[in-house]
């Protein structure tokens, strides 16, 4: 989406939100060397030939259950305004499936919510460079005030993405 973006795309907030959604880490079902992702069927007439270039294997049900626990945590955070509940579910997910990027990314919000900014920043640094992710860059910019992260967002995306991310901050 970044490569095919036209100038008008960068001022379309739905387009920016979609870029960020595609960047979110997600699960893929794999059998031998083939990948299944339902979305592939919408974008290709030969979805069996499509695959993600870099994946990390986790156990089937442990991975899915960790996904469920993350969702429970997000509900505690966003609906119930309960940061301790959020952290509880993320830690439970971490016990089931350690090292999932989605858990780590949510832990940044969770530690930020309880005021443990050092821990949040530490996780952000550990996530930096692992995958293309504008939200990680913004988090690093906010926590460190290092202009290089802001510049990286502008260079990799656009100033509009940077402004959109800033406006989206809680």
């Amino acid at each position: 989406m970044i490569e095919i973006a036209e100038p008008k795309s960068w001022v379309d907030e739905t387009y920016l939100a979609e870029i960020l959604q595609y960047e979110d880490p997600h699960f893929v079902l794999v059998h031998e060397d083939e990948h299944f992702e339902s979305g592939f069927k919408s974008v290709s007439s030969n979805p069996e030939s499509m695959k993600h270039p870099a994946v990390k294997a986790v156990d089937l049900w442990e991975g899915l259950y960790a996904g469920h626990l993350i969702a429970e945590g997000v509900i505690r955070h966003q609906r119930d305004k309960d940061p301790d509940g959020f952290l509880y579910f993320l830690r439970a997910a971490e016990q089931v499936c350690p090292d999932l990027l989605l858990i780590q990314e949510n832990l940044v919000s969770a530690y930020g919510s309880i005021g443990d900014f050092d821990r949040a920043e530490e996780i952000l640094h550990s996530l930096y460079g692992k995958r293309k992710d504008a939200k990680i860059l913004l988090g690093l910019y906010v926590f460190t005030e290092d202009e290089r992260y802001k510049q990286e967002i502008i260079d990799e995306y656009s100033i509009h993405m940077f402004n959109y991310l800033i406006r989206s901050l809680p």
Binding site: H26, F27, H31, S38, S42, Q78, L101, K130
Partner: protein
């Protein structure tokens, strides 16, 4: 909810008695209909609630359905979940 309860709920929700004609789980899964919504992304809270409900409008619900179908119909095949890093 513990992992076994979660598994049981998923298997109950996505039980499908139709025998596949395909011999490969991935080809079989792509032969099924998937409810992939078109339009702006769901807000984070709505998506999390959909995920907990195993709602197929969310990619997580669709993935759990795929896992159940693959496991039910191809129990001898080793299907795993991979975590996308790209």
């Amino acid at each position: 909810m513990d992992i076994n309860l979660f598994k049981g709920r998923a298997r109950e929700k996505f039980a499908d008695e139709t025998e596949p004609t395909q011999t490969n789980p991935i080809t079989y899964l792509y032969s099924k209909e998937w409810n992939v919504p078109v339009g702006p992304p769901f807000p984070e809270l709505e998506l999390a609630e959909m995920n907990v409900d195993l709602d197929e409008r969310g990619c997580f619900g669709r993935l759990v359905r795929a896992a159940v179908l693959a496991e039910n119909h191809f129990p001898e095949r080793y299907v795993r979940i991979y975590w996308d890093l790209s």
